[in-house]
């Protein structure tokens, strides 16, 4: 058992970074992620880590510096939010295309405009095709556990992909909760030393990275990336198993709750999972057979596993904390619904866009979702495929 502490999600992640002791961190501050690097910078100044901290002039530069350091053969981390992640945009693809296992904490925040500093998933969801492994965290504990695991998942043989871990801005990043930190030595032993496969700084074996790649080979390299993402699935489960041996805490692609005997279910990710679980308990006391499933891993998307977990449901609500304007619902909905398409019998599936710009998702809107699902279950009819929840008319 590690030590119980009360700390914010941001400080927990900064402590994870201290224990990880990466070779290089390059970062630029943006709310609500600033506190992570601010605390980590103190660790650097106090000599608690050996990290080379590079303070740069933008997030684009932060990711660029990270890419250079990772190509050189370093274990590299950074943290950002919202517009900062958006400014990294082109470099995200260069990190994944060059197969550099950088680990990044994304303190999820709404994208401007209008300007808003609060938590939603539009930043990380916008980067869903960038070739990064993507995970979401319900609370500070999961953010801490996920970012440590992200290091090894990305570095795994056959994977070699960057990974980002999300944590809801303010709702988790600035909330104090109980959590358990591992001992420093436990983390260092768990991670071991990073042995880069093709370090650019190995002068005994000079290589070229990032050369021009045209019609003759580009497709093959993208096919490799698709394969690496598939391989990441096994790596995620392997790392989770090893992490459980150290921490006692269990992780997978998702976490079902009272789902086995449920008729109706809610799929969600991030901090709203806890509130949803609370509502599931309330509804269960009333005899309503509702369950929930909290998605942890969004990339690679666990298609077959979700098919298995959800096939028995009669009605399913997919919760999206971001919108994909003009699409067939929010990003999570599109993926889940597509995954269920090939099942011979599948739940009637509806989508709720909620909590944009940090709008609170309280108990009563989730109760309303349950009520809608009950009606869909009874009538076998969907009135509204995509509902904008927690919005005034």
């Amino acid at each position: 058992m590690g030590k119980q502490v009360a700390m914010t999600g941001n400080i927990a992640v900064a402590n994870a970074m201290r224990q990880i002791n990466p070779d290089v961190c390059a970062a630029y501050p943006i709310t609500p992620s600033t506190e992570v690097m601010q605390q980590f910078a103190s660790f650097v100044a106090d000599g608690k880590v050996d990290t080379e901290l590079v303070t740069v002039e933008s997030e684009h530069s932060a990711m660029s510096a990270g890419i250079g350091a990772a190509a050189a053969g370093g274990r590299v981390m950074t943290a950002t939010s919202a517009n900062g992640l958006a400014l990294m945009w082109e470099m995200l693809y260069i990190a994944s295309g060059n197969r550099l296992p950088i680990a990044m904490m994304v303190i999820n925040r709404a994208l401007s405009a209008p300007i808003n500093i609060h938590g939603d998933h539009s930043d990380e969801m916008g980067a869903r095709d960038a070739g990064w492994i993507q995970m979401y965290s319900e609370n500070g504990q999961e953010a801490y556990d996920n970012i440590i695991q992200a290091i090894l998942i990305g570095e795994s043989e056959g994977v070699l992909l960057p990974a980002m871990v999300g944590m809801d801005g303010f709702i988790i990043s600035h909330s104090i909760e109980n959590l358990e930190l591992l001992e420093d030595k436990q983390v260092r032993d768990f991670l071991g030393e990073f042995k880069p496969k093709h370090p650019l700084l190995n002068i005994n074996k000079p290589i070229t990275m990032g050369p021009l790649d045209l019609q003759d080979y580009y497709s093959e390299h993208k096919r490799q990336q698709a394969q690496a993402m598939q391989k990441a699935k096994a790596a995620i489960l392997k790392v989770a198993k090893d992490y459980k041996a150290v921490s006692g805490r269990e992780y997978g692609f998702f976490e079902p709750y009272k789902l086995e005997d449920a008729d109706i279910g809610i799929l969600t990710l991030g901090s709203s999972a806890g509130t949803t679980r609370f509502v599931v308990d309330l509804m269960r006391e009333k005899g309503i057979k509702v369950g929930m499933i909290k998605l942890r891993v969004f990339r690679p998307f666990p298609i077959e596993e979700l098919q298995q977990a959800l096939s028995h449901l009669k009605a399913l609500a997919v919760m999206d904390r971001s919108d994909s304007f003009g699409a067939a619902g929010g990003p999570v909905f599109s993926e889940v619904r597509s995954a269920l398409y090939d099942l011979p019998a599948r739940p009637k599936t509806v989508n709720y866009i909620y909590g944009l710009g940090g709008r609170d998702l309280g108990i009563s809107p989730i109760e309303r979702v349950v009520k809608d699902l009950q009606e869909i279950h009874q009538t076998e009819k969907i009135k509204e495929l995509v509902t904008h929840l927690t919005v005034r008319e």
Binding site: F170, I176, E285
Partner: protein, 190 residues
């Protein structure tokens, strides 16, 4: 369902209200509880009204929504009463702790309060006399230790020491502990 105690703090930026909620959580955790402490997120500005919240439970806390029906309300700045309804959403058995030199009966009348139990403590005077500055957060915690069963005085003093030692001198830490002890003794019930 597990019992969850929820606290709402009313204060102004610069009065240490967010720190009070933080120490409250840490103290409850020292007493073996599961805790949450979170400010009403947004930029903090000196003098602007703000709220902070706590949840405390014997079992792990899953809720990550706002606190709307707090069982305990701590009013760090009494001048807020004119503009903010501090009783909003409170249940019948709510506990109100208000920083004021007035006695509880007068405050109940002023608030036109029909329910709950009300306590007053002159936290500003205590902080002025002990700390030399009007930062009433630590005496408010002392009063809460007395009138609720969520945190104990001993844990509070210990956690205040740990917390404030990071930023303040030993002398100032000691004065804060004195403020807590005085408020614990001086809080008035109806």
């Amino acid at each position: 369902m597990p019992k969850i105690t929820e606290v709402r703090w009313h204060g102004r930026g610069g009065q240490g209200t967010v720190t009070a909620a933080k120490i409250f959580a840490e103290t409850a955790m020292s007493g073996g509880k599961h805790v949450q402490a979170f400010p009403e997120y947004g930029p903090e500005r000196m003098g602007a009204p703000l709220r902070a919240y706590n949840r405390v439970s014997d079992t792990p806390l899953a809720l990550h929504c706002q606190v709307t029906n707090p069982g305990i309300v701590a009013v760090v700045d009494v001048t807020l009463l004119g503009t903010i309804d501090v009783t909003e959403g409170t249940p019948d058995d709510a506990i109100f702790v208000i920083n004021t030199p007035e006695d509880p009966k007068t405050m109940r009348k002023n608030l036109n309060l029909q329910h709950g139990s009300l306590f007053t403590v002159d936290a500003t005077t205590i902080s002025l006399e002990t700390l030399g500055r009007p930062i009433p957060n630590t005496p408010m915690l002392g009063a809460l230790a007395k009138v609720t069963d969520v945190i104990s005085k001993d844990n509070l003093i210990e956690d205040t020491r740990v917390n404030l030692s990071k930023k303040l001198s030993e002398e100032m830490v000691q004065k804060n502990i004195e403020a807590i002890t005085r408020a614990y003794e001086e809080v008035k019930s109806e």
